[in-house]
């Protein structure tokens, strides 16, 4: 049988990979994808706890996280599009308009 700890460690691995991606990638789109990966890792943790505690509350939390992720993706991608109109790049190093 797979223990709860295996699922939690898998979630931790995926979360860390996503965090490394956020710090090392310079492409704004891929950074967004890495944030989605981190949200997915948290979802896995919620589902694993929900199953092992035999309670459905975790599923409702994951449902809410999916809603927020969808809203975040829609707004974030339109922010990227309107940034791209002002300056034709999505490299986060070159987007420094509000730098003092």
């Amino acid at each position: 049988m797979v223990s709860l700890n295996s699922y939690l460690i898998l979630g931790a691995i995926l979360f860390s990979i996503g965090a490394v991606g956020v710090f090392t990638q310079r492409n704004a789109l891929i950074i967004y994808m890495c944030i989605e990966l981190m949200l997915n890792a948290v979802n896995l943790t919620f589902i694993a706890f929900s199953r092992f505690l035999n309670s459905l509350d975790g599923h409702v939390f994951v449902f809410m996280i999916m809603t927020v992720a969808a809203a975040e993706a829609a707004v974030g991608l339109s922010i990227i599009i309107s940034l791209f109109r002002n300056k034709p790049t999505i490299n986060v190093d070159e987007i420094n308009l509000s730098k003092g």
Partner: protein, 171 residues
Amino acid sequence: MQLLMFYILGFGAVVSALLLVTNKRPVRAAMSLIATMSFLAGLYVLLDAHLIAALQLIVYAGAIMVLFLFVIMLLNLEEKEGRLAGTALLLQLIAVVVVGLVFVLMVSVVKLSSPVLPFGQAAAQFGTTKAVGRMLFTEYLLPFEIASVLLLAAIVGAVILAKRKIDDAEH
């Protein structure tokens, strides 16, 4: 059998996540993220979360990733291979080391927590649409309704942010 499936799906998820992180091309990164999400959906099935597994495929791998691909197509980016140097590279190395430390912390918290929950028999309707839906519409009704307001705000925000300004269209 379950252990084997866990290892296959978990290994696949980690490998495709690594492909996502190391990739420079957005389309390939999106494809590996779709692969990661599909492997995670398999893991959700292992954990008896059938509704969430279906939602993972439909909402995440379907809707959200299609949105990503549309934006990649819309922006029409040229490939630019820039190598970082000097302080930027150093800062990245520091960030990776910090994330590694956080990872070690997470794993040690998991390892040190003694009460191990048993993988018991799930309740008869665990994770079905009926059970989760009943919970959403009774105990979590207010958060559910607020989520609809959040989605409405996101729709309006996306339209306003992404539309062209009216005076831009004139010249």
